[in-house]
């Protein structure tokens, strides 16, 4: 029992972080599935969502601030795709990746400018930020809500992709870019839709993540961003369930490592995992043709 009690907080934190990572990882995996692009700016969109929330909540009541934050995050994701990726559609992949790195640099510098480099305190959201007790472990309610909300959103997304017209178009584009174009699918709107969905989920993820961590800095998107990409690769890039499972595994492992007192290595572990998976099974856990790629 005591062993259970020592480890429960880490496990809870792991599951919670895993859920938040899952929401971000989906953005990576969907964009990679369609454009074959590691969207390095995605982590920064996630950070930007946090900052938008910080600024909006000082001026507006939460029930307006939260939807508005999500709307602005979506707008940001959409804008990035149109401004920085669309012009490079026929360019080599390396150029697009460099453009993504450039966008990431731009967003971070903008954040630096607006915040003056200071960590901004994230507004507490009533009910979500309240503390609760689970089996003797004290935690915020957000820890418990995150996995449930994440799974709900993931199921909704999978249904969306399976059933709706846009979702079917997404799958077609992921399978064969050129052929879909020839079949009259509007590639640009499908790609925009992908970025909109990815950014929306990153926005929700940022609400949950920063409620837990309480402060936002211009660089707080970088590391979670990279980790979520690793989660997406781990699960098999292009596969949504894969990304979710990968994210949970990484979230839990990371917190267990912290619990062991190896905090310095919690980031390094993620990358070690990445390298192992790339060498042993580059397609990831679910990266085979059978899973529906997006």
């Amino acid at each position: 029992m005591s062993l259970f009690q020592t480890w429960l907080p880490y496990l809870l934190a792991g599951i919670s972080v895993g859920g938040q990572y899952a929401l971000i990882a989906i953005g990576y995996t969907m964009v990679y599935g369609i454009l074959r692009l590691i969207n390095f700016a995605h982590g920064d969109v996630f950070m930007a969502a946090g900052l938008i929330m910080v600024y909006l909540s000082t001026a507006l009541p939460l029930w307006i601030a939260i939807p508005l934050t999500l709307a602005l995050t979506v707008a940001l994701g959409f804008l990035i795709e149109r401004a920085a990726y669309k012009p490079l559609r026929s360019a080599p992949r390396m150029s697009v990746m460099i453009s993504a790195i450039g966008v990431s640099y731009l967003i971070q510098n903008c954040a630096l400018y607006f915040t003056g480099g200071l960590a901004k305190v994230y507004p507490p959201i009533p009910w979500i930020s309240d503390t609760v007790e689970v089996f003797g472990a004290i935690t915020k309610r957000v820890t418990l809500i995150t996995p449930i909300l994440s799974l709900f959103l993931v199921v909704a997304l999978v249904l969306f992709i399976k059933k709706t017209k846009v979702g079917i178009a997404m799958r077609a584009v992921a399978r064969d870019f050129e052929a879909s174009q020839l079949m009259g699918i509007k590639i640009n709107s499908v790609i925009s839709a992908t970025f909109v969905i990815g950014s929306l989920l990153a926005g929700v993820g940022s609400l949950l993540y920063f409620s837990n961590y309480a402060s936002v800095t211009p660089t707080s998107g970088g590391m979670p961003g990279l980790k979520c990409f690793v989660a997406a690769v781990f699960g098999g890039i292009g596969s949504i369930p894969g990304a979710v499972i990968g994210a949970f595994i990484i979230g839990i492992c990371e917190n267990v490592i912290k619990g062991l007192g190896w905090t310095t290595f919690s980031d390094a572990f993620t990358f070690a995992l990445l390298i192992v998976i790339l060498l042993v099974k580059p397609t990831g856990l679910f990266g085979e043709k059978s899973t529906d790629k997006v």
Binding site: M94, G102, L106, N109, C110, T219, L226, L278
Partner: protein, 375 residues
């Protein structure tokens, strides 16, 4: 093959230009006060030039999209700092406050510098074996991951007796304390760092124009054809990776000399991104482009755009100009280059006497053509 007269003349012109450039630096250092910002810009851009050139060797010439540069620079900087720091300083408590230093010897700056490159190269050799089998973007993320792992390891407390944990290292030979051998005459620091990085860049240039450099380019252009023509992909990729990391290590050591201190936490992914952007600005596949790019990047970032940060420039209560605005403008400029001038300043051309001549001739004929139209 006998060189034509023209080629010989061009080589002499190039040598003269380079010589004149170094003389100019020497004169500047003698005339302008050493505290002038120009020198810190020049020194830093010399270091970054080498880092960018080493990255260009991989990304631009071998077609391997690697993002591990900061990691190899870290290895070089630490190797240099640890080996070069005087033993009495290591055993004292001013640097290794919380640890007992395990390294009980020191060596001169030149062997330390060389070993900085060697250690980085050895790590590259080990990392390259698994990683170089990966394709483009996976290679990028894997090398980036390795750089992060290296950074974490160097901050690890268990290695404290060697790396001083997450604390800074200092007290090693810096740029201001380099003397001509057997004398007490100090070498002007800017000249010195430019000379060292110039020599390294010249070696890379020689390599690129050798048979091996051609093999690298063949791999970049078409892997399948390269392999079919008998070029062993792994061997050549590994070679390029090792050499690139060797020079990245040296540039890391030079960075340490320039900064006076070393701290693992500063060798972040952001540093790799900056070097990548320098390469892009200068032109992927152009050595001279990387050098010019790094000067422009650092001068804009730290000098020319400074006025954007001055709040005294604000008019009528607008608070646009304040700390950080420079970086925003700067990253916008970079985005414009990335999106609209994808080839960068130089494309894959080099700044040679021949190309300059052709460029001028091209301009002239353009003018003539335009003049003709008007008439």
């Amino acid at each position: 093959m006998t060189k034509t007269k023209e080629e010989k003349r061009d080589a002499i012109i190039a040598a003269c230009c380079i010589g004149a450039f170094y003389v100019l630096i020497l004169i500047l250092e003698a005339v302008v006060p050493a505290t002038h910002i120009l020198f810190s810009i020049l020194k830093k851009s010399a270091v970054y030039s080498l880092a960018a050139v080493s990255m260009n060797l991989l990304n631009g010439f071998t077609g391997l999209f690697s993002l591990g540069q900061a990691g190899f620079m870290l290895l070089g900087a630490y190797t240099y700092a640890i080996l070069n720091m005087p033993t009495e300083l290591k055993l004292g408590t001013s640097v290794y406050k919380y640890y007992e230093c395990a390294i009980h010897f020191d060596m001169g700056f030149l062997p330390s510098l060389l070993l900085a490159g060697v250690i980085a190269a050895v790590f590259a050799a080990l990392i390259g074996i698994p990683v170089l089998r990966l394709k483009s973007d996976y290679l990028a993320i894997a090398t980036l991951g390795f750089a992060e792992i290296i950074r974490a390891v160097f901050q690890w407390e268990a290695l404290g007796p060697v790396t001083n944990g997450a604390n800074i290292l200092s007290g090693f030979t810096d740029l201001n304390h380099i003397y001509i051998p057997f004398t007490k005459i100090a070498i002007p620091p800017t000249f010195f760092v430019m000379l060292l990085s110039g020599i390294c860049i010249a070696i890379v240039l020689l390599l690129i124009n050798s048979s091996f450099g051609r093999a690298f380019k063949a791999i970049r252009d078409d892997e399948i054809a390269a392999e079919a023509m008998g070029i062993n992909l792994f061997k050549h990729k590994e070679m390029s990776f090792i050499i690139s990391s060797f020079f990245a290590g040296i540039s890391g050591a030079l960075l340490a000399m320039y900064q006076f201190t070393v701290k693992a936490a500063t060798f972040k992914t952001a540093m790799t991104y900056e070097i990548l952007l320098i390469v892009v600005i200068g032109g992927i596949g152009s050595i001279s482009g990387s050098c010019i790019g790094s000067f422009l990047f650092i001068a804009c970032n730290e000098w020319w755009l400074r006025f954007l940060d001055e709040s005294s420039n604000n008019i009528a209560g607008l608070n646009i100009f304040r700390s950080g605005f420079r970086k925003v403008v700067f990253s916008l400029i970079i985005m414009v280059i990335v999106l609209f001038f994808r080839k960068g300043l130089m494309g894959d051309k080099e700044l040679t006497a021949k190309n300059v001549r052709q460029f001028i001739a091209g301009k002239k004929s353009e003018k003539k053509a335009k003049g003709g139209e008007k008439a």
